[in-house]
């Protein structure tokens, strides 16, 4: 009974015009926008996931550790007085080489195995990379400051100064850091779209993702394509790792980024990059709203870990292959 009353009163607050509670007020908008923008951070992790899944059907659980490995390499290099540009270049090369090695040693020998085996291989790879990253460098916490501004922007000021618009709806604070992350995501998605749509390699990639066998039959070099995908993913992961590291600092915690990315790509549908972005927005918004409106219901705080998964679960129960996922017709 008590639970029901709390739910009802929370629902009442959501639809009220209470300045610090109503959802349809500038406060609510601010929460929503902040949530959605922080969700973009999750989408960033998801992009690498989707790229690999789309091209090879591999559910790459090692994504989080690749992220840690890249960020740790970069930080450790700069701490050893390597010039940042140089460090960036070295890490990029390292990630490309790593992608190629993974393709050679893990993916190629397992090419014809079922999806579960491939998934388990990446779980093993994840453990391997964890040991390698921390064994090569160390497991301490490293700070990283890329100089991305993290102060908030007051939207009302910007709107008034640039466009001369006035409205109470602009009384919103938006974090510059989140804006930066969103911009990065936008550039990446745009870049990938162009790559898939307008290059020869992109075309081969789409063919491979549709049907490995058929693609091979028309002479597309499967292993080369996969090596490219893993290398590109490595580089993307590195860039995403830098952004995450700037926010969280570099430590083992960074590998949990993958757990934020998981519900996002599952909502989006595993094979769709736009889906990944939409998933991020949904999870981000849902996390913020859940924290504000429903945390109390569950005895306080800290619900965000499972709340994101619950949100994903609800979406997937409605659409079992995600919002943008391909629905497979089962033939017998």
């Amino acid at each position: 009974m008590e639970v029901l009353t709390t739910i009802l009163s929370q629902l009442a607050t959501i639809f009220s015009t209470d300045p610090i509670g109503g959802m349809f007020t500038p406060f609510g908008m601010e929460t929503l926008i902040a949530g959605m923008l922080s969700g973009i951070m999750y989408s960033l992790v998801g992009i690498g996931f989707v790229l690999i899944y789309k091209s090879s059907g591999v559910f790459n659980f090692a994504q989080g550790t690749m992220l840690l490995f890249a960020a740790l390499t970069y930080v450790s290099l700069t701490e050893r007085q390597v010039n940042p540009v140089m460090a960036f270049a070295i890490t990029t090369v390292v990630m490309i080489i790593m992608g190629i090695i993974i393709e050679r040693t893990v993916m190629r020998p397992l090419a014809n195995q079922d999806l579960l085996s491939l998934f388990m291989a990446t779980v093993g790879l994840n453990y391997f990379l964890e040991g390698l990253a921390q064994g090569t460098w160390d497991s301490a916490v490293h700070g990283l400051d890329l100089g991305i501004p993290s102060d908030p922007i007051f939207v009302a000021d910007v709107a008034r100064e640039t466009f001369g618009w006035e409205s109470p709806w602009f009384d919103i604070l938006v974090s510059k850091f989140d804006g930066f992350a969103a911009l990065t995501a936008l550039i990446m998605v745009g870049g990938l779209y162009a790559f898939f749509q307008y290059t020869r390699t992109g075309l081969s990639l789409r063919a491979v993702s549709d049907d490995h066998m058929a693609a091979q039959a028309v002479g597309i070099p499967l292993s080369k394509i996969w090596a490219i995908v893993w290398a590109v993913t490595g580089v993307i992961t590195f860039i995403v790792g830098l952004i995450w590291a700037d926010r969280l600092s570099v430590s083992f915690t960074l590998t949990w980024a993958v757990l934020k990315g998981l519900p996002v790509i599952l909502i989006g549908g595993l094979t769709s990059i736009p889906g990944c972005i939409v998933g991020g927005l949904i999870i981000g918004a849902s996390e913020k709203l859940g924290e504000i409106y429903f945390a109390e219901l569950f005895g306080g705080q800290g619900i965000e870990h499972w709340w994101a998964y619950l949100t994903a679960l609800v979406f997937i129960l409605i659409r079992p292959t995600g919002i943008f996922g391909e629905r497979e017709i089962e033939r017998v």
């Binding site: 790879l125 391997f128 005895g299 499972w306 679960l313 997937i316 079992p320 089962e330």
Partner: protein, 370 residues
């Protein structure tokens, strides 16, 4: 091979579905069990019991639990530690709050509660397939960690978040006090030797039960759903019911493993240890041991648990005591375990159990080659 099954012909279907088909294997098994029950408790010291034998049994049962869902029924799960958490807390609260409760009944209830939670988080499997199901089990994992943190009643409002289990929780015999008095035994009921015996009995019972299910219609239905769910449906296997049944049994095992983990192994209740990393370790044990093999679950648990200990021991022996620091050992075992997982997947997808079968086959036809 020193012995072969040649000449041991079965003459009835009852004989044909024996648990251990070869006579010599049965001898080995009975000897092994006799040693485990009657020799080890007298001979082994606390280190062997507490740091080797008990954890291996506990983790093997947890792996077996995951094996039922993932290995036999094909439902991917990353929530093992979460279900263990539900088991451990159920057992703790029953033994702590209910006076007439004994440890066997508490373990049984731990299994049932974990199993029911498993059914709830398994419900989405009726609609979701494959990797999408990860969402549900991960949700269970995080929910468990959060739940026992958010509701401290389950830990009797202990501020540290850890409760050490007192001897009186270990009520494993009727008229326990009197019996101990009669034989003049010391009444430290949580001594490792008692914990070992509790773990051993539970392990043997659960293993036999699992084997029994696998060789009967229950196990066949699980495997049918795993291998091809449409065909299973067409020949009349209720796919949804079978999946939920598998989730229940799987989480029943995992829940009991959780209760054992607290009661037999570490001797305290603590929600922090049932974290995602533990789920992953159990996943590793399953993959290394081999999906869909009971023997494999044990082999995997032994390997993953013992490898770091072996490395430390080896380092101590070669380079002198304490040279290898924990970070090195940890990273090293991560690299090795990770490598072995990938190598096994490439060369022997059935894991250690598959490796064992191959070796057996090779020995059987030695000196000829396959």
């Amino acid at each position: 091979m020193y012995y072969r099954e040649t000449g041991q012909n079965v003459s009835s279907y009852a004989e044909d579905r024996r648990m251990v088909p070869v006579r010599e294997d049965r001898w080995i098994m009975w000897t092994f069990l006799a040693i485990m029950f009657f020799v080890v408790p007298f001979w082994a010291n606390d280190y062997w019991l507490s740091a080797i034998l008990i954890p291996i049994m506990v983790l093997s049962i947890a792996t077996l639990g995951l094996n039922i869902a993932t290995g036999y029924t094909g439902q991917l799960s990353l929530g093992s530690a979460g279900f263990m958490c539900f088991g451990a807390f159920t057992a703790f609260n029953l033994l702590f709050r209910v006076e007439w409760m004994n440890i066997w009944l508490a373990f049984l209830c731990a299994g049932i509660v974990a199993g029911l939670v498993g059914i709830i988080f398994g419900l989405p499997s009726l609609r979701i397939k494959g990797f999408y199901l990860l969402v549900s089990t991960l949700c269970a994992q995080f929910f468990a960690e959060w739940f026992f943190n958010a509701y401290p009643w389950f830990l009797n409002y202990t501020s540290s978040g850890v409760v050490a289990l007192p001897p009186f929780h270990y009520r494993f015999l009727p008229f326990q006090d009197q019996i101990f008095d009669f034989f003049g035994l010391e009444k430290d009921y949580n001594a490792y030797v008692w914990r070992y015996l509790i773990a051993l009995i539970v392990t043997v019972l659960l293993t036999v039960a699992c084997k029994n299910m696998i060789r009967s219609s229950t196990g066949r239905n699980w495997m049918a759903v795993r291998d091809m769910d449409i065909a299973a449906n067409v020949i009349g296997i209720p796919v949804g019911k079978t999946k939920l049944n598998a989730f229940f049994v799987s989480c029943f095992y995992t829940g009991i493993a959780g209760a054992m983990y607290s009661y037999c192994y570490i001797g305290n209740v603590d929600f922090m240890i049932y974290n995602l990393r533990r789920s992953f370790l159990i996943m590793f044990m399953l993959i290394l041991g081999g999906l869909g093999s009971i023997l494999g679950s044990f082999l995997g648990a032994i390997f993953v648990y013992c490898w770091p200990i072996l490395v430390t021991r080896f380092g101590d022996a070669v380079f002198g005591g304490g040279t290898l620091d924990t970070a090195f050992v940890e990273n090293n075992s991560k690299i090795i375990v990770g490598t072995i997982i990938v190598l096994l997947l490439i060369y022997e997808p059935m894991g250690f159990a598959g490796l064992w079968n191959t070796i057996k086959h090779r020995l059987r036809i030695w000196p000829f080659r396959t």
